[in-house]
Symmetry: D2
Subunit: 337 residues, 4 copies
């Protein structure tokens, strides 16, 4: 249920509604908008009586929500959410590019890449310290050492850090070093991790699962918001299909679809989405053209030596060319990059 407040409602009015909701044993989620505040009500198993709220002062409307997601929906909040990642806005007019290696392998590699992507125009740095690997015998990341290297990269380049959080045990450790916690495709329905990260209150980058519907993606985001973390960025990274010419099939139609029904920003990861270096540039252009709110690009100074996902990493000069093309395109669709 959504309780929409009058444009003229006072903060006292909002507080009163919140208290009334809580007195019924339910949770209230005030979502302030530009014009007016909506209050999401969760925790009810069946229908809640609208009558309990309709006549409270300042209440404009009580909307029973039919969609299974509530807090992430446009019904709950008309305006786009803009998430600030270490000061860089995601979801606004500008299209930030998150760039860096798949995995942090050494301080040298991390810093070299960091300088290169900052120079080319990236606004955020990505790099994995904890890596989810299909095989137990593959390189699993440097762990805490990798996190410390990430902190140095931020210090030296000024780029805020996006890095993956793999489990509840290491979530707080990662949060100490990261500006944005990435939840990977394989963990999109790791509900315990979602709840944990929802309580940490750092911005979250939530990737679509390999065979997740958009409804499932939004419901996983709803887990985060329901815990009180509203700084959620979604990410399309390709889905698994029969098609074998790319590693995954990048589903760009997800972008306008999500943007119509949700207020959350959504990025595109063409590196994982295609798994092939030569496809990253054209699909980055397509992502910007379709309206994506950001890009995630894997860059590695020596991809042939990469411990993880080398074949999809761009060389620094390919990344510069990508940034150049993206900037031109962004202007045409009314944005900047």
């Amino acid at each position: 249920m959504l309780i929409v407040m009058d444009a003229a409602a006072t903060s006292e009015d909002v507080r009163r509604v919140v208290t009334t909701v809580q007195n019924l044993g339910l949770q209230a989620h005030p979502i302030p908008g530009a014009q007016r505040t909506a209050i999401g009500v969760t925790g009810n198993r069946g229908a809640v009586e609208a009558a309990a709220f309709e006549n409270l002062p300042g209440v404009a409307e009580v909307i029973p929500v039919s969609a299974p997601y509530k807090l992430v929906s446009r019904e709950a909040k008309r305006e786009n959410t803009v998430v600030s990642v270490g000061g860089v806005p995601v979801g606004g007019q500008r299209i930030p590019v998150v760039a860096g290696p798949c995995a942090i392998e050494s301080e040298t590699q991390a810093l070299e890449t960091g300088r290169a992507v900052r120079e080319a125009g990236a606004s955020l740095y990505r790099g994995g310290a904890f890596k989810p690997r299909t095989s137990p015998y593959s390189f699993q990341g440097l762990g805490e050492e990798g996190l410390k290297i990430l902190s140095k990269v931020r210090q030296e380049t000024g780029l805020p850090i996006v890095t993956e959080v793999l489990d509840t045990e290491t979530a707080e450790l990662v949060a100490e070093h990261a500006d944005c916690l990435q939840i990977g495709a394989r963990n999109m329905q790791n509900f315990s991790l979602l709840r944990k990260v929802g309580r940490i209150r750092k911005p979250v980058l939530l990737k679509r699962g390999m065979s997740a519907t958009i409804e499932e993606l939004l419901l996983s985001a709803e887990y985060l918001l329901a815990e009180g973390n509203y700084d959620v960025i979604l990410c399309e990274r390709g889905v698994r299909t029969f098609a074998d010419h790319t590693r995954n099939t990048l589903d760009l139609s997800a972008i306008p679809y999500v943007q119509r029904i949700s207020h959350l920003p959504i990025m595109v990861d063409p590196s994982h989405g295609t798994g092939k270096r030569q496809k990253v540039l054209p699909l980055s252009r397509a992502a910007v053209a379709v309206g994506a709110d950001g890009l995630l690009i894997e860059v590695h100074p020596h991809p042939e030596e990469a411990l993880s996902d080398g074949p999809q990493a761009l060389l620094p000069d390919m990344f510069s060319e990508l940034m150049r093309q993206i900037r031109n395109l962004a202007g045409v669709v009314g944005r900047s990059a």
Copy 2:
């Protein structure tokens, strides 16, 4: 096998190689390029002796082709193929837009749409006279009457006509009225139809099947070229996956992939690719940005009355807006529209 001729080879040299191929009971397919001619050899079940050709005058190189497709491959022809559809080049610098209703329903509807799309900047007209329908009880198209209406549309608007050919019986009839024969997704592996259309020698628009790999798409094109019809345009129109927020999942990564391994132009059909009016505009932008050689767009003046696929047809003024945006984007990727 591919026999690549010297840049200095004479037409007499080419003829001699062709005769030698034919004397071995095989087919020769001379493919003239800007610099030099290649001759595809087909019809062999096993390996062919390269020795039979290597020493003929004018032969530069004999390449055993490992890919299952030969004539459609970049190995056979380095330069992009540009197909002329009634004088409109497809595959060149300019990105033609093919627009019109899913099905021809009446002369009034067809002409009204034709005038509207021409005015907005479409270069080709599309409309179905013979419609492949999942149910035997759905509207199957006006048939020959529809073809005659299409001829009138060309006469009145000057736009060349693209229309679907459903079977071998009506292929020649359709060819009398059409400038380009469309082979639909359901018929991509209707090999008898491919052979028939390969012999008709009108340009062909070949759509990717609902669950076809790129290799299968190229092999279906190979059927056309092997019959001697080199004027083939490919088309990505979405594939079938688990994702349920669109009718099909538009696989834009297919565009750069095809362009790397084949010389044939490839278009995108975002109307069928998404099945939803609101997705057509953003995905058309994405298609141009990714490098598509053309767009197929369904336009209907009264979509709510359409006998087929109304929900995905654009209104004429939405189409004008699409053309405006496409033109701006095309410039940024070094093309025009």
Copy 3:
């Protein structure tokens, strides 16, 4: 629309209803059942007035059909359809096994296989004279020569013949030699071919398309019935998914689903469904256990020399073992084989 007649309705009553339907410009399809006759009405674009029929003598009920398929549905006919293929019933208590090579390669190969499968207990013989091949350069079948060999196989072994019909041009030729016309997965939505075969009135084996839903399969069958051919056998042969350990993913849940909503028999083809010899036996057992009305099995005396699909063909003694296991299983599920 379905018009259900009284159990006591006379054939005169049925005739009167048929005439009334036809006078309205529609088609009537009388479907005799054990207890009573239903008359399917097709050809209407919108709703038909039930009133025109309700008061005719012998009419028990007029049912507006909501499902897009009518004649193939259980609503139209309660009892299972039993199709006689050259005297062998398909859809009854006994589970017929159709066996033979993928392609007819020579008289020797065809007859050798025919004798072996008859001896092992097959009731029908399969073998392709016209082969749909992904590549134009693959063996396309012996054509008419293959059909003549098939006639000899029937003569010598007594087994009725199931063989594929590829196009409308050769449909009648194939029908002269075959007892059952197979429509392959790639042609499931070749609507011109469906209509043609619907008019030929030989039993048809209709295979599910590579990515066809069950509704689409039933609607393709509806094309056949709507032309007056009621002798239709459906066939599950695997669908295309991301899974790469088999050539296709055999969807055995389709069997009980189809049997609940349609009266048509449905077979399983585990040879194409898996593409691997070692999977054919266990999945044949599973097919019988799930309730399939028959099996299609590829058998080749020398699979390593097969011109098509060798890796999935069983050797004759593996086929004997399959028949032995199938017979045991059939008994447990109340059938025989």
Copy 4:
């Protein structure tokens, strides 16, 4: 790498090899077989010198393993693994059936179901205390209270308990009450959970992810074995495809495929695999016929009141009928149930 010992090797020989492996900084995993012991070597990033082991006493052969999985492969262990779940063998001649409700809702519901399924012949009890739910607003299970109820069910019925473990935090708590820890499809690649459960050393039931390949499933199992937990049961529960007549597409070909390349037992869950009550019985029969090592069946005394997955739960008398049919079938394939 696999080090295969002589049939005549002594336990002293085995110990010596293990020590040699460990002295190189690697892990040794002795896998005793009926005839002889194999020792899996893991922890190496590149190739390990075979020479270091070949000449040790008792070593028959050193096999560099090419498959990405080692410990789960048939190369590592020829004989089938038989896992004992609270005394019930899984992977042997007998086919155990695990039955119970999707979620534990109350002591009454849990016990009523437990008595019913034991009486019908189930050997193990299943029921969720911690439930992974797509929506944060759905019933999430009774948690620890549910676990205590499960302990009572075991006490009263004598049936060992299979229940899902959702995260690392509650893994040990669940292990106190359960005889077998189920890892659900959504957690198949939750590598932290796999490692944790690998260290707990209770039998594990590992379900195939919604779009996991068999290689990925086996690599997830490898995580468990690499931690020292060899009591792993795999489970096919349907994969996500375009097909919409069932909730998932049950991929029964996975069973013989897994059994050929791995020594681990594999069960089938037709309840989740189809999502529809009416399909559970025929697909259970198919699972037994294809060679499954066990079945997971959801049973609920009042499915219409179930808090989770009601539409796929069997009523107790339907389950009795299932057991009856399964027992008959098992005999035919050389097993018992």
